[in-house]
Amino acid sequence: MKKIFYILIFFFAAGTLHAQDNDSGASYGDRIVVGTIGEPSVLIPMLASDSASHDVSGLCYNGLVKYDTDLTVIGDLAKSWEVSPDGLTITFHLKPGVLWEDGVEFTTADVKFGFDTIVNPDTPTAYAEDFRQVTKFEIIDTYSFRVTYEKPFAPALTSWGNLTVLPKHLLEGKPITKNDLTRKPLGLGPFRFKEWAAGEKIVMEANKTYFEGRPYLDSYIYRFIPDAATLFLELQSGNIDLMTLTPLQYTRQTDTEYFKKNFQKFKYPLFTYVYLAFNFQHPWFQDKRVRQAIAHGIDKQEIIDGVLLGLGEPATGPYVPNTWPYNPNVKKYDFNLEKARQLLAEAGWRDTDGDGLLDRDGKPFEFSVLVGMGNSVRLNTATIIQWRLEQLGIKMNIRVLEWSTLINEFIDKRRFEAVLLGWSIGLDPDQYDIWHSSKTGEKQLNFISYKNKAVDELLEQGRRVFDVQERKKIYYRMQELLAEDLPYIFLYVPYSLPVVSSRICNIKPAPIGISYNLPTWYVPKKLQKNVRVP
């Protein structure tokens, strides 16, 4: 019996290999099942605030502009656009002949409707502010419109993504939060919505009238499985074609022959970085030498190897490596305890009473770092830092707090000495709200109260200039200043670790991820396993 089994396996394996050799052309058919932990909540982009909702609604609604693989801005529904020399107006020209699913043409009237809806005070949206900067919205003709801003505002261009693309003919006169489209979108993107089984899955089908040509895959199924371990078991049994792995799963649980044969793994930096931030209102941390000493006392690679199993990159500033605003040549702080001790001594920190802790003016160097509950990666990071700082004679206590408490009671009220957090960064390099000295008020995001006039100026300039090369210079300079000042100790950029069934071809990882060319993914005819019965 066992023998027969082996022979069968052999045949199957040979068959698969054979198919791959023979059939490499793109062909229509089959489906992809994507497994995630979170379920979308609403499928109108401007109302959504979670990534699952944006993932799915992004398949139905394209934007006017989008990011290319190298993060430059290119047209999507817009054929072209012009920015006036003073940077105050942008004129968009839409591609003609783009159809909504029901056959109605997409025009500037739809964009105007989307714009009016998003700036309407009765629309509960988190994205209105970029659009509130618009002082005038003029429709020139069916395919062209012009928007005027009060001040030049470079991030404005990329705000014209899919937030304001809505079918006016279906939504006019209906409340945006209560209409059929919130759960049954009708869009113009590569996939059409078919079914949403709450708590289970969303089924999408190829849009045959998609303006860039129909996607190769017949359908896209988004399954929600709230437990990560279950999700991984489903992947192992072949019930899921795509999911994101944890570092542990990536390195230890998928290193088998079975996985190598049936799945393709990818890794690329996420648009996120994790940092240790100090409260500048605390006298100890106002001294740059103390911050630099702590930076020298932390081994970033050790943290990456320990908590991310090597699946991340050291961060040197608030941008992600391999993107255009990222400056690789800033001051770096190598792991050097000697240098750290020297800097601390210069700042007046010495162990005068021989208890192993540094002290100054009779006070030992002891502080607390706040960490959000439930994030073991960050907690482990804090523990490693704690151990390293102990070697410098600094006692760092770790306080773990429930997320809402951490933000509302401690960060917003500035009641902290240090905090270990992460930022998800947008694709536009503007970080005015995080570093500008005017943003230190309650609930504002410069919660460490960092103030540097030169950085302020660069941030203001960066918003006024549209040219990528010019902006690059500005943000390069800003990163140099931040690296010298060290308002945060930038720790690491974790990797995103997607795994996809090897059946699916034409996946080309790029700095923006893998799913940007989803419509061109295909399954070679002979590998198609879900053939639709007519």
Partner: protein, 332 residues
């Protein structure tokens, strides 16, 4: 009896108001707001935008006013709309009229819990009787050990082990969810079978701890019954052991179980976060967990109110059943 019932029903009103008021205050005391999902650490949010959002959800009003408004709506049987970004009516989330009845969240949870309760009764009562009639025998000791293992086994761990064995290694049962992806293309009998296969593991896992507990209750109440004088009387008048145990002892031993079953009625509705999450089952446990984590007050309140009502109805039903089965405590 009817007057007693009416009295009980009237007594429920102040209790419901008390329960909801306290719940309302407690969930509002927890740090965070429903709007946090949109506003927290979001660079694009200005203080005005935050205020606008809070006003939109009525969070700017004093808490007692908010409670008053909520109570007013509830009196008209309107649970309001969810504060999550989908703004759906709370009642639709719990009992979506557009879906077939068995697919609605509440029915999914009730179905699983009823099946598991049935499984508990079917297994636990015979085990309890067996142990009680042969106390401290080898069989009793084995079942005691099994019971404690059952008590001590963490549900999530057991679930994953069973999934790995039955779904990944043996490929007998599906891993998660309630339906296969090709469910719609199956015939009616295949659909029933498909669902049954999906239910095997979740029902077993949710019954697992209960079997342990219930068989202990059964054992102790059976031992107590057997030690009564009327059992000695029954034996002395020459009845068979069978009749003594199953007719005289068992009937009396089942009385406390009525109370326990009555008390588990709210559990039928509450659902379990742990196994619904692990098995990816769209039931009430998942819904309430998500609602609590996102501070979706209307949904949390809706679920709490329904559970509170059902708990009280459960208690009342238990009392009535008690009166029916036990002539000693009937109210005159």
């Amino acid at each position: 009896m009817i007057i007693y019932l009416i009295k009980r029903l009237f007594a429920m009103a102040p209790v419901i108001i008390g329960v909801t008021l306290i719940s309302f205050l407690i969930i509002h005391l927890a740090p965070g707001k429903p709007t946090d999902v949109m506003t927290e650490l979001n660079p694009k949010i200005t203080p005005e935008a935050r205020a606008r959002l809070e006003k939109y959800y009525g969070l700017d009003k004093p808490i007692l006013v908010q409670y008053g408004l909520w109570l007013k709506r509830i009196a008209l049987l309107d649970f309001g709309n969810s504060f999550s970004t989908d703004s759906r009516p709370v009642i639709d989330k719990i009992w979506d009229k557009k879906l077939p009845v068995p697919d609605r969240r509440l029915s999914v949870t009730i179905l699983i819990n009823l099946l598991s309760m049935l499984l508990i009764i079917v297994i636990a009562i015979p085990v309890g009787i067996y142990s009680a009639t042969r106390p401290y025998s080898l069989g009793d000791r084995i079942s005691t050990v099994c019971v404690f293992i059952g008590f001590a086994t963490p549900t999530f761990w057991l679930s994953l082990l069973l999934m790995m064995l039955f779904s990944v290694k043996l490929d007998w049962l599906p891993i998660s969810g309630l339906k296969s992806l090709n469910y719609a293309t199956l015939g009616p009998w295949q659909q029933v079978l498909d669902k049954a296969m999906h239910l095997v593991l979740p029902v077993f896992v949710s019954a697992f701890g209960g079997i342990a507990g219930m068989s202990r209750y059964m054992r102790s109440s059976m031992i107590e019954a057997i030690n009564n004088d009327y059992i000695t009387t029954a034996r002395s008048k020459g009845l068979t052991e069978r009749a003594v145990i199953y007719k005289h002892a068992l009937r009396n031993a089942l009385l406390p179980l009525v109370t326990i079953l009555g008390l588990s009625i709210p559990g039928l509705v509450g659902g379990s976060v742990i196994f619904e999450t692990i098995f990816g089952i769209p039931g009430m446990g998942q819904l309430s967990y998500q609602a609590i984590m996102t501070r979706d007050y209307p949904v949390v309140m809706g679920i709490l109110t329904i559970s509170a009502l059902l708990t009280m109805i459960g208690n009342m039903t238990a009392d009535v059943c008690y009166a029916l089965v036990d002539p000693r405590i009937r109210v005159k």
